[in-house]
Symmetry: C2
């Protein structure tokens, strides 16, 4: 997003002033109430954006991956209202607020591309809101598994390589581990997935998508 839309001179400035930070899997990038000093760009890896409820349970709202930005100060917010942490080994760039503002002011196409990114994310989020309101648990869990599959793919053994995957699915779908476990059992009977130890293998992605077909416009 940044490389395509900024002038070479500005790219050099960014290169000089950016902080390149490596994260291991499952490390916090920032937490609720932390002060906003700048913005994060993902070079490699994936980050989960999640909120925490009164009772302490998480809600994963989206993933950000290569080329995406997150943790941008929405308005005059001085502190974060959500959390971000790495899902796998990642390299993340940090850019300070004033440099970011300079970039926006001097690279019109950069602003436009960030705007388009937010616009698309907003649309996805609106659709996701509808899904959370209308889907039953079976469908929400299907949706969560599908999201994970699209975001992370599978390892060479065709397994979804996400640590504590049941918990992650529950945090996406807005339910608890027990329901996820039950649903996985059902899906195994239906031949959609297969359990291999704690890992799960997606045997029939098409069947999974079919469960969701009413909710996504082809």
């Amino acid at each position: 997003m940044i490389k395509k839309n900024c002038s070479p001179a500005w790219l050099e400035t960014v290169d000089q002033k950016k902080y390149q930070i490596p994260f291991k899997a499952n490390q916090s990038v920032f937490s609720l109430f932390a002060p906003v000093f700048g913005v994060y760009f993902i070079q490699t890896g994936t980050v989960k954006i999640f909120l925490t409820g009164a009772n302490g349970n998480k809600q994963i709202v989206r993933f950000a991956s290569q080329g995406h930005l997150f943790g941008h100060r929405g308005s005059k917010n001085e502190t974060y209202g959500f959390n971000a942490s790495s899902m796998n080994d990642s390299v993340i760039c940090f850019i300070e607020n004033h440099l970011l503002n300079d970039l926006f002011e001097n690279n019109p196409m950069f602003s436009v591309s960030v705007m388009m990114y937010y616009s698309q994310e907003l649309r996805k989020m609106e659709n996701r809101l509808k899904n959370m309101a209308q889907m039953c648990i079976r469908e929400k869990i299907s949706d969560a598994i599908n999201m994970l599959w699209e975001s992370f793919g599978t390892n060479k053994n065709h397994e979804l390589e996400v640590p504590r995957i049941r918990e992650v699915i529950a945090d996406i779908a807005g339910t608890n581990i027990e329901q996820v476990s039950r649903q996985i059992s059902d899906f195994e009977v239906e031949g959609i997935i297969q359990r291999r130890g704690k890992k799960i293998v997606l045997k029939d992605p098409e069947k999974l998508k079919k469960i969701l077909s009413d909710y996504y416009i082809s």
Copy 2:
């Protein structure tokens, strides 16, 4: 948004090329699958953005009001994936795609302000997603009533002036009219609201907000 951030010359061009369209209450601005020819800016009034599910039931995802824009082509989308219709008598400006693109390219601060708008809406939507996942019906309905109150206020009789308000609340909260009706009854006993014919009067906004206090960071 547009007036503050565009140069006088461009404002004149916009003035010449814009289409100013009056809408009566409850009129469709555009519907699912309609082609995207441009973008809408609200001069006066409020518009509801809603999606429709497989079973045909609506989900109102947000309201847009004075100064806000909606119906912007997210990426290469040629058709809309959602619906917009007026909640009250409104005046809405339509601007064609190519003019909008020219505005973005030539008025950096305009792009930035639209970006900030989307960024804020995205954040609100993420929070709303969490709420839909974690709130019980009582809380979702409280939230919906609060949204309506903040968006539309009350008329001179302190009534929430929204036609078919129970249906609207249900479509925001993701439930049905019966649940809304029950909850309104309960709220009347608790002294939070009062029924006056089909209209409802918000007697104690603070008590309503207290129900929601766990979900919004002060």
